[in-house]
Amino acid sequence: MVSAALLLIGLLATGGAYAAFTTSATAETGDSAAKLIDEGQALFQANCASCHGLAAEGTENAPTLIGVGAAAVDFQVGTGRMPAAASGPQALEKPPQFTDEQVAALATYVASLAPGPAIPDERYLDGKGDLTAGAELFRINCAMCHNVAGAGGALTEGKFAPPLGNVSGKHAYEAMLTGPQNMPVFNDFNITPDDKRAIITYIKFLQENPSPGGLDLGNLGPVSEGLFVWIFALGAIVGITVWLTAKSN
């Protein structure tokens, strides 16, 4: 048990050091950063503290945000998932409640509490990575929940993996890095930043290219396609059969 605890401490230390190293690139020094932190703190206490605690220490209703980093805040608040409208199986995406500047202030404040994953660098989000490798990584790591065409899918007890048709490269990267809600974390040891860039390239490819087969029916596979065939194709066959065998007036 002692060794486990030591290992955990070691892991936290290395993870923290790593994160601190990656955040230091974006962290600003001086008055403007301090001002942003204050602004973020005010926003946090007005909008988030009732669930996450006044010092982001977490309550029985919501987890602590110490150490989740700017990336988690940018994803959760930037996609409108937080502040949550109601408690439920999972927080739903909705129009963001804050401006980009307010999101940035909140992210800076939460990142100032403890080191955590930073907002990703633009060069990983341009969608110009290795498309083929990205598609393979997507099939191995993402497609089981998000569907091979990024159409999303159901999980247990009302939870679901959202469709990726509208996700931005930045939010996709942050989701992989922070594992929002029930999505697992894909840290940089597992999927390197370049691999994440490739995956984002594939997501953008899916978003930009139409379905070559025409109507994609939601890309949900046999359920929607089967329903379509049962109703419309069989309906047409029944109709034609009735017409064939009916006597003419």
């Binding site: 247990t156 999505m183 974390v185 070559p212």
Partner: protein
Amino acid sequence: MSQQDGADPGTAVERVESEVPSTGIAVVDESDRLENPGFPPFRPRISDVDPEKDRQNSRRVSWLFLASIVGSVFAIVAYIVFPIELGNLGSVRLNTLFLGLGITLGLLGIGFGAVHWSKTLMDGHDLVESRHPTRGSDATRARAAEIFTLGNEESGFTRRKMIRNTLIGALVVSPLPAVVIFRDLAPAADPVPLLKHTLWAEGVRLTRDPSGVPIRASDVTLGSVFHVIPEGLNESEDRLEEKAKAAVLLVRLRPGDLNVSPGREDWNFRGIVAYSKICTHVGCPVALYEQQTHHLLCPCHQSQFDMTNQAKVIFGPAKRPLPQLPITVDDEGYLIARSDFLEPVGPSFWERSL
């Protein structure tokens, strides 16, 4: 079943007298017998009585055939005008869409036109066409027997016994090469050991799918999930077959969250657990991991496994927990297997001992 209204039945039609089946010793009340009502009386169609409607229907049929011509020509034009451009999926979509619509119109126009023609303009009387008897006439049968006899005499098939027997022998042996060839479609070796063992063995490193890069224990942070293949799988001869058996899901839980049964204490490494990714129901890859609930969901039939309780089935049709791969770390901190799986992975098979 008489021909009402005197339509000419043609040569192929004859009256059918249904035979009355024997009732045995039962008493039949003749008043129960239902007379064959025959066809309903002939009702002239609107094109039979109104020449204007006749012309109208005639024009409709022609329009349908013309539509068919237009559709077929359109298909050719669309194929040329909307070519498939390399790397442009939108062009594939346009090409197949217009080509399909054109060919559909071309074929449906002919079909609908022909049916409309026959329904509205061709003779509308009901007819009975009985089947021809299948038995040949006596003369035909006698002639056939004669030909056989003559053939036998001329070839000496029954007289020259050696030729006949060697021919039969040749016919019997000729399919044997096919039997030998198709026999090789079956697994060359007994498939049961193949089902019971995977590429995992003591000391085999856990590597990332698909790159084959080994995984350090320190890489596996809480909440993350790794899709794992055994080291050397990418170089193995039957890569896909081996992967289908050896695929593993790796997650890290807080050691306190794990419920470990006696005998499995050293199968996890400080909360890192590895389970077979092949569902014990019918073998789908189970990989929908929820990091908060630690539930693992199979997308095919919604079996759920609880990662904190040794992948116990908590919902769905799967009958057994997912087999656990015993793991530890080597000197360099990389995760390695302690052994192969201790039970066969995947769905049940006949020879699997429960």
